[in-house]
């Protein structure tokens, strides 16, 4: 949900429209806004799942401190999406999803 007009800040000025690829799906974003802002605007609330308890997490501090919103961006894990500007064509993946874990687990069992 984007805030287009604002009683104090006026109409928003945004960069050009770009496309991110988030877990395989295209997500529209504006150049210069943070990855987290684009994801929230697209309705996404879960940004990752935790390692031990496999619990969902989302944006918590929005300042780059708490690291709850980290995702894998262009292959680099643990990128703080709340302070990282979106760029056209970025490939963004959620970390620790239940699916990924099952796959990892299956692979592990296969080896054992």
């Amino acid at each position: 949900m984007r805030i287009e007009d604002h009683p104090i800040l006026g109409k928003v000025e945004r960069g050009r429209k770009i496309t991110l690829k988030v877990d395989g799906e295209p997500v529209m974003a504006f150049e210069g806004e943070t990855i987290a802002a684009a994801l929230i605007a697209s309705g996404q609330r879960v940004f990752r799942y935790t390692e031990k308890r496999v619990e969902p997490r989302g944006v918590f501090c929005a300042l780059g401190r708490c690291t709850d919103c980290v995702m894998t961006v262009d292959g680099q894990p643990n990128v703080r999406t709340c302070v990282t500007p979106a760029r056209d064509g970025m490939i963004i993946q959620m970390q620790g999803t239940p699916d990924q874990r099952e796959t990892a687990l299956d692979a592990g069992e296969g080896e054992g």
Binding site: F60, C66, T67
Partner: protein, 93 residues
């Protein structure tokens, strides 16, 4: 969800029960809680849970918050990747 299953350190997923357990073993200082449970050792370096841990420690041990100095701050204040450290003397070639 029971109170003691409550996550306190969001990064390392350390629960209230984990913290209470080390306190029951005689821990009284913030540094010890951190070292023994890993609460505050995650990516955020205790910025979110530090005060919550201090609150639990104070309640469980009867200390005042004033007696509980935060766990020792050491560099780096942010998580550094080894790549960044390796790049500490940027070469120009």
């Amino acid at each position: 969800m029971k109170g003691n299953d409550l996550v306190i350190c969001r990064c390392e997923e350390i629960t209230r029960a984990d913290i209470e357990e080390v306190i029951s073993q005689g821990v009284t200082r913030m540094n010890e809680v951190k070292r023994l449970t890993r609460a505050g050792m995650g990516l955020c370096q205790g910025k979110t849970c530090g005060r919550l841990v201090a609150g639990i420690l104070a309640r469980e041990t009867g200390q005042s918050l004033q007696e509980l100095k935060p766990s020792t701050s050491r560099p780096p204040t942010r998580v550094l990747t080894l790549g960044v450290l390796a790049g500490s003397k940027p070469d120009n070639d």
